[in-house]
Subunit: 228 residues, 2 copies
């Protein structure tokens, strides 16, 4: 039987590449998109497009409303910073930090994985360009894997051993894009912008757009996305 | 300033007692109830009654639909076992196990706690009567606390240190009930049954009812709840 993997799929460039890597390693993909009360739905539409393009076995969208907690530019009315030089983004924890986001996302992935009999979880976190997020660090991921193997019936009974894969963890954005291009990822389907217009067109000026655009330039490709 | 605590409040006997203990320790309470697609809403109504009775500062109900994952008698159509002797319940992991439930609940509590500036999380898990659940064990809770202190901006920046309180962890049901009675918990407001009738009246025969009833008997009190 093909081994199953649960992949957290946001619809962004990193998670699309991560899913393509998981598929290239022979896993049967179960994609989980968590709708945590983001400000716009363009990310969810992108996740659907990417899931379809990768022929995942199943794509599940789970809603959990983190916006009611407050505390982040991605779910609150705080302004998204614009035109910041990429080198300044690394200083401190970004205002776009969502409290405990990756802990929540991975917990949901774990619950679904246990039900599916999937021991492998893939997540597109990256410690290079997002060094400001505490829950994108290797020590966080290692600890979550330890937790997963204590938290679940399948692990305790020995029928599953959970492994957390973060294939992008040490890659620069340019390296991620090069790897994705090798694997045939269609980056036109992805959505990266924190602050798109009504139609979903990327602003090109928020931290996420600037990192993405610099990544394409450094990788030697042009970004197939349209920008405002 | 009074120290804030987030308390996971299901509406059951254990979480009501846990919240009363947290209040008796001087914390200002923020109660989080997670609606994870349970089969009935009587638990949610009980959580509201208990929150009101304990004068919590805020009661938040967060919805996350674990039932779409499948795999448990609490969210699926699997039959709830009836009339099992209490001594048999401890063997193996119960069919009422929900994959990664406590990991998901604690992750949500952590996200809200960080936003509130609350370093203390209270959870009513118990390793005596629920030894079959992997995520009710002390080693799971210790690991989650380690994770919380790696996962969050507040912990990394040193403004909060997360402490996970599980005051019931080593108590029998009878000890829990005695402690709650001392603290004035009104157990008539709580809901325990896995399989109530339409009006929410407890069955008295599922594992949860049987544990509760035996606890009251051993504690030397009569259960104020009505049973079918």
């Amino acid at each position: 039987m093909t081994k199953r993997a649960v992949v957290l799929l946001s619809g962004g460039l990193d998670s699309a590449t991560t899913a393509a890597i998981a598929r290239s390693e022979g896993f049967e993909l179960f994609a989980l998109t968590v709708d945590y009360g983001q400000r716009h739905k363009h990310e969810l539409a992108a996740a659907e497009r990417v899931a379809r393009a990768l022929s995942v076995r199943r794509h599940l969208v789970a809603a959990v409303d983190l916006s009611r907690f407050g505390g982040s530019a991605l779910t609150d009315r705080i302004d998204v910073p614009k035109d910041r030089p990429v080198d300044e983004m690394a200083s401190g924890i970004p205002v776009t930090y969502v409290p405990a986001r990756n802990t929540v996302l991975l917990s949901l992935a774990l619950g679904w994985a246990e039900t599916l009999g999937a021991g492998d979880l893939f997540v597109g976190v990256n410690a290079v360009d997002y060094s400001g997020y505490p829950d994108c660090r290797p020590e966080f991921l290692d600890k979550f894997a330890e937790l997963a193997n204590l938290a679940t019936k399948a692990a305790v009974e020995g029928t599953l051993r959970f492994v957390l894969h973060a294939p992008l963890i040490d890659m620069t954005k340019a390296q991620i894009i090069r790897r994705g291009m090798e694997l045939g990822v269609d980056y036109r389907l992805t959505h990266t912008c924190y602050d798109p217009d009504e139609r979903g067109t990327a602003c090109g000026r928020c931290d996420a757009c600037r990192l993405r655009l610099r990544g394409f330039t450094e990788a030697g490709f042009s970004d197939p996305l349209d920008y405002v």
